[in-house]
Amino acid sequence: MAHFKKKQAGTKQEVPTSAMPDVVFMLLFFFMVTTVLREVTLKVKLDLTKANNIEKIEEKRLVSYIYMGPERLPQNKFGEDKIQIDDSIVDDIGAIRNIMYDKLIEEPRLIVSLRVDQNSEFGLLTDVQKELQQAGTFRINYSTKRED
């Protein structure tokens, strides 16, 4: 009996984790490709409306946003409908055509995404659309959520 020794496996099996950085880089590239760096803080209230016949904008790099809605005032109040482009509220409607024209020069295939609060009146939108026509940016997209 003393001749028999219990044999223990002396070696330890280690799961090779050398592939871990590769997996993480894959996840990283996924996020880099599918997301956009959000830089704009909304100064207006934005409740999007719903629609059925919507299409997804495939080329995200070509998009520029115009936000329209009631202005957020301090103490949770809401003011008049305002237009916001890229972080600042635009008061002068006539200035919009210059701003959009500059953007068009930078990106000829510009798509303008109009994000309008659902209770905003159409009058302001039509003014903005006239400016966009003057600026030459004809491709627009009305942002809506998908209706079920």
């Binding site: 997301t35 760096l37 959000r38 059925n52 995200k60 995404s113 039509t126 004809f138 997209n141 959520k145």
Partner: protein, 180 residues
Amino acid sequence: MLLKKRKREGAEINGSSMADIAFLLLIFFLVTTTINVDTGIGMVLPPPLDEEVDPPPIRERNLMNILVNAQGLILMDEQPVSINEVKDKLIEFIDNPTNNEELSISPEAAIVSLKTQRETPYNIYIDMLDEVMSAYKDLRDAASRSNYGVEYARLVENSPQQEQIKDMYPKKISIAEPDS
């Protein structure tokens, strides 16, 4: 001494910190970005009207006037309709299968004019635009199925088949200026 073959140690860079760097970058991107789902109704605006030039003459029967007021009441060619009837009436107008003299000559000539008031809320405008787009979608799907056996959405982007269906039912939508 005994000539032992010394096992050559290959130069190895310690790769254990690679995973840490990758995680850091990943967390940075997770925190600062959003998956911005950009869906919406796409449209192409017409070029601005030159004040000197008169717009080209349009035959009355080719034009479908849709008027929406601030309360959401709809008039199609002076007839009051409800939102559910809009799509079917539009399809009948554009396609005109019975060759009714009041309706369009052909789908290529049909123009839909959507006019709202300045006070009309945006969601009502979008609902109307949605109905118009949905009428065109149904027409294009029917044409695509009868010609190619698949839905319009399944046709290859920018292929001659898609262009043909687009030319059969061009989206001639005019967003008219509200009376101030």
